[in-house]
Symmetry: C2
Subunit: 597 residues, 2 copies
């Protein structure tokens, strides 16, 4: 046979032989990780997915075979039939499961030669990510990446077993579908059979999973690919995977309980960590008030304190005018930050300008009073009130934000995370989960001069707030919930609207005329009128979840074939220019364009 396997069939993986196997005849197959010549004897570290076994070619035992082994180089693919022996005293490697044994070769098949790899197949390498992605088939041989990809498999298998056990059905939804607004740009696919018409790749299976509930499937899940044509940031991919689920006849508690059970099982199976349930909960209002952000990292303090009432009447114009203009004044007390240098304080001020803050007022609390450019503006009473509310003590550094609430929260919230990392307040070994609930239903889009759904337009409002849908939409809270881990949003969902009249009111609140929503969502409205049960669901970002489980910094390290920030696959060269005949068949033309960058 051309593959040279002949009658050679693997008996073991390279990671499984141990002292108990001594005396056995075995066949191993794998890659040459390393060849050493030692005292005339050739030692091969033979590698496969499971581990490494040392193979010995001894010229005194078999001179011809020893000669053949001389030709072996790193990454050659071989098969070895041999005998499991105990390693000599002093050669035992206690760090390796196979460290007590070696295989004395009796037969060698060289299945394939290998060119010298462009980088070493090991974890700590100094090579650009682009080189790694171009040679991804080699990069994927490195132990850490291989472990990540296998962990990803284990995580998906764990999720499936858990959800299958709870009566969830793994149901498939279309990839060639209709454009629905999820807030990002769609990838479009021209239809050849229907010229001028396009499919959209789904940003999520949202409406299909709702249709499954309406059709009576009761509990749905899918580990499913989704697509967003966004400008890529570090932690985004054009295609990503989510754990998507939906349940009928449930409220928030049911979905949170199923989710918490799933996350606990994942952390137990993958990391052998016991998470305490239930997870903490914060309303959106509380999260933003205390942490500035709706995805708070709750592993450390440095919480934000609102001081607007104290400083509203103060002599410091910036604070007084922020308060008078409907804004807020808030501060963080950085315990022990009193020795920050002027340079360091300037850097922090630069940091917050990214978040549109105009400056960063500060007070250093010294044993003999305040050191601060703004101290002079406050009365003794105001000073006393600030000291008490901020629990000031000598050595503290107080950092202020004063502006619109959104700018203050955003800038101080991000400053808080920055300081947390910088001051070493974050325990990397801690996994701190919190649910964030009661999000606003809408936000106002200044550019388009209309309200937009903060989650999506199928999210149910809180019953108590429904009467304000038309009169005061910004005050309406939704039945949406996010699950946040260490400052990352890892999942989000909501109870959905199941009544046609409420769904129509939401579309109207979003500025759609009935002709528009009938055209876009007529099929949903018709389904809601056909007997729709109360239902809700959640979706978890699987790439990010696996990234956190693997302790990685980038989702590209847990995706086998990721794309770059230019949305390109460096390995295969996608995207690429199609043949003109292909475009002709699709009845489309590429416009003359100025190529960018």
């Amino acid at each position: 046979m051309s593959d040279k396997l002949g009658d050679m069939r693997r008996t073991h993986q390279c990671g499984e032989l141990s002292a108990g196997d001594i005396g056995k005849s075995v066949v191993l197959m794998g890659w040459v990780q390393r060849r050493r010549d030692h005292g005339g004897v050739i030692f091969i570290d033979l590698r496969d997915r499971q581990g490494i076994t040392q193979v010995v070619f001894n010229p005194e035992v078999n001179p011809a075979l020893h000669d053949k082994a001389h030709g072996l180089r790193n990454e050659y693919v071989i098969g070895v039939r041999g005998h499991v022996d105990a390693r000599p005293e002093g050669m035992i490697n206690p760090n390796l499961t196979t460290g007590e044994i070696e295989v004395t070769a009796g037969e060698l098949q060289i299945f394939n030669a290998a060119e010298t790899p462009p980088f070493m197949i090991e974890d700590r390498i100094e090579v650009s990510e682009n080189i790694r992605l171009k040679h991804r088939h080699i990069d994927l041989r490195r132990p850490s990446i291989q472990r990540n990809i296998i962990t990803r498999h284990r995580a998906s298998a764990t999720v499936r077993n858990y959800l299958n056990g709870l009566g969830f059905l793994d149901l498939e939804t279309p990839i060639l579908t209709r454009s629905t607004p999820e807030g990002a740009r769609d990838y479009l696919v021209p239809s050849r059979v229907n010229p001028g018409q396009f499919y959209a790749l789904p940003q999520s299976p949202q409406l299909f999973k709702q249709l499954f509930m309406i059709a009576g499937f009761d509990r749905y899940y899918q580990i499913v690919r989704c697509f967003r044509d966004e400008d890529l940031r570090a932690d985004r991919q054009p295609e990503f995977t989510q754990i998507d689920m939906e349940m009928s006849f449930v409220g928030e508690e049911d979905i949170m309980a199923v989710s918490e059970g799933m996350i606990r099982l994942l952390f137990k199976e993958i990391l052998d960590r016991d998470l305490e349930l239930p997870f903490q909960r914060l309303t959106y209002a509380e999260a933003v008030s205390r942490y500035g952000l709706d995805k708070p990292d709750i592993r450390f303090g440095l919480e934000l304190t609102d001081l607007t009432d104290i400083v509203a009447g103060s002599g410091f114009k910036l604070f007084a005018s922020a308060a008078a203009g409907g804004g807020v004044v808030k501060a963080i007390n950085v315990k022990g930050g009193g020795d920050f240098t002027r340079k360091e304080l300037d850097d922090l001020a630069d940091f917050v300008t990214v978040y549109r803050a105009k400056g960063l007022a500060w007070i250093k609390v010294k044993p003999d009073g305040w050191q601060s450019p703004i101290a002079k503006f406050f009365t003794d009473a105001e000073k006393q009130a600030l000291i008490e509310r901020l629990d000031m003590a000598p050595g503290d550094l107080i950092l202020f934000g004063a502006d619109d609430a959104r700018i203050v929260n955003d800038s101080l919230g991000n400053l808080r995370n920055h300081l947390g990392r910088r001051l070493g307040l974050i325990d990397d070994a801690t996994y701190a989960f919190t649910w964030v609930t009661d999000f606003p239903m809408f936000e106002y889009d200044e550019t388009e001069k209309r309200y937009q759904a903060l989650h999506h337009p199928f999210t149910a409002p809180l019953e108590d707030d429904c009467d304000k849908l038309e009169s005061d939409p910004l005050s309406v809270r939704s039945r949406a919930y996010d699950l946040v881990l260490n400052g990352f949003e890892i999942g989000g969902g909501s109870i959905r609207i199941h009544q046609i009249d409420l769904q129509q009111r939401i579309f109207k609140a979003l500025g759609m005329a009935s002709a528009e929503y009938e055209e876009k969502f007529g099929f949903l409205l018709s389904a809601l009128a056909s007997g729709a049960p109360p239902h809700g669901g959640i979706a978890f970002g699987f790439d990010r979840l696996v990234m956190l489980l693997c302790g990685e910094q980038s989702i590209r390290d847990v995706i086998a074939f990721p794309k770059t920030q230019r949305a390109a696959c460096l390995l295969t060269g996608a995207p690429s220019e199609p043949a003109k005949a292909q475009l002709d068949e699709l009845a489309i033309k590429v416009r003359k364009i100025q190529m960018e960058g």
Copy 2:
């Protein structure tokens, strides 16, 4: 809460209560399948995914609740708190698991009203498929379709458990990828970030799974969506799902054994059928010789018999010239077909013209000799030879084909299937599997005047035939194998090429210059040079497999949201016209075209 669930939480599904639950207080939720008013009492058949429970509203027990229940109509969504009672004597329904009990309602929540459905929620309905697809969320409530979709879930869970248990890794591959030739048209996706460039949706993850093997993952599988922009026939969809797998360090036997175990488990789990292993095997040559087709239905006889040698010198010009021109003469003996009418024979002749046969010669074997327009052309010796080889007996009908081998095999092979169905020779309860192996590597494309790969260009040739790659490509056999069930190809795969030099020879045999294959497949060649193990795999058409497991005739009945033969989703209205701004962002234009049909 707006969903009216309040503190009502389901305690049971509608299919699970039985006599053992009598006396319990329960909460059920579901759809009104039917309402009957009987002697002043209202009976509701309450339906969910699991079954039906009878709910009773008795005016004497609770007049207000009885009044409320009067408003219920079919497909209303309700919740009921009640008491499990034994049904009165004579009301017991032994066909229902819940047939011994009923639930006497104590509380009723109406979660949603429902319009009268466009068709009945039951199995035998007279309604066009287009109406069903337009209201698919309602169609999916019908018991047979719901069962199919749930069977699909069970089938995928069974496959995953089986493959996970064998050390296969469920690994994801990109959907936005590079066009590779699999013989069908690609769906293209314009890239906004890289104007003028396009991704292709994968026709299969073929090269990525080979890269996984080269990267050392050893055993890969994925239940994965694939895409082909073909003109749709009855049994095709633009997107379809396959069970895709690949293994390293294996030969054909290993892949067949894993596949057979998987199929056996599926049939046991889903149908409680015990399949006998191993499956029968036929070479391509033998399949075509005996059955005319490379996906033979082996549940019945009517095999083809080659008569070329006997009739080559006969006086019947059509046979003699077919033989002289390198063609063949073959026949089917239809036992008991001797009483076919002239009209029936004409219909059979029409049938084979679809397969380019020019006619259908025939002989009816009577007790007193042959009745046939062609009998007179044969000598007694030729007649005797035909009688013996075809095992002729009175009452038989012999049907002949004479032409190029391809036309004869194709027309008689399809005629054989047609007759098998028509004569009731096929036992629908039988599942007959056969492997077909040793396919030709190439076929000659008359239009493009070049060789094409019969499977794909990464399929390994048989070692014995490698020396004919350049000199006689059409005689080279491949290490490809298909699994055929009852005449359907349900899976196919091959041992792949793992040596760079052999891969280059194949590309050349396919007429590619080295610049062309380097441009298209440079990354594969580079991977083959980096230490590629012997490997092979297989892919199963999951939609068709589930269709056969469900006993359905169309894959659309096992896909939740299928597309029509015009590649449209009638429910959501995909594909649709995009906004001009979307196309502008993608730098493409729709050409003015004459809309067809």
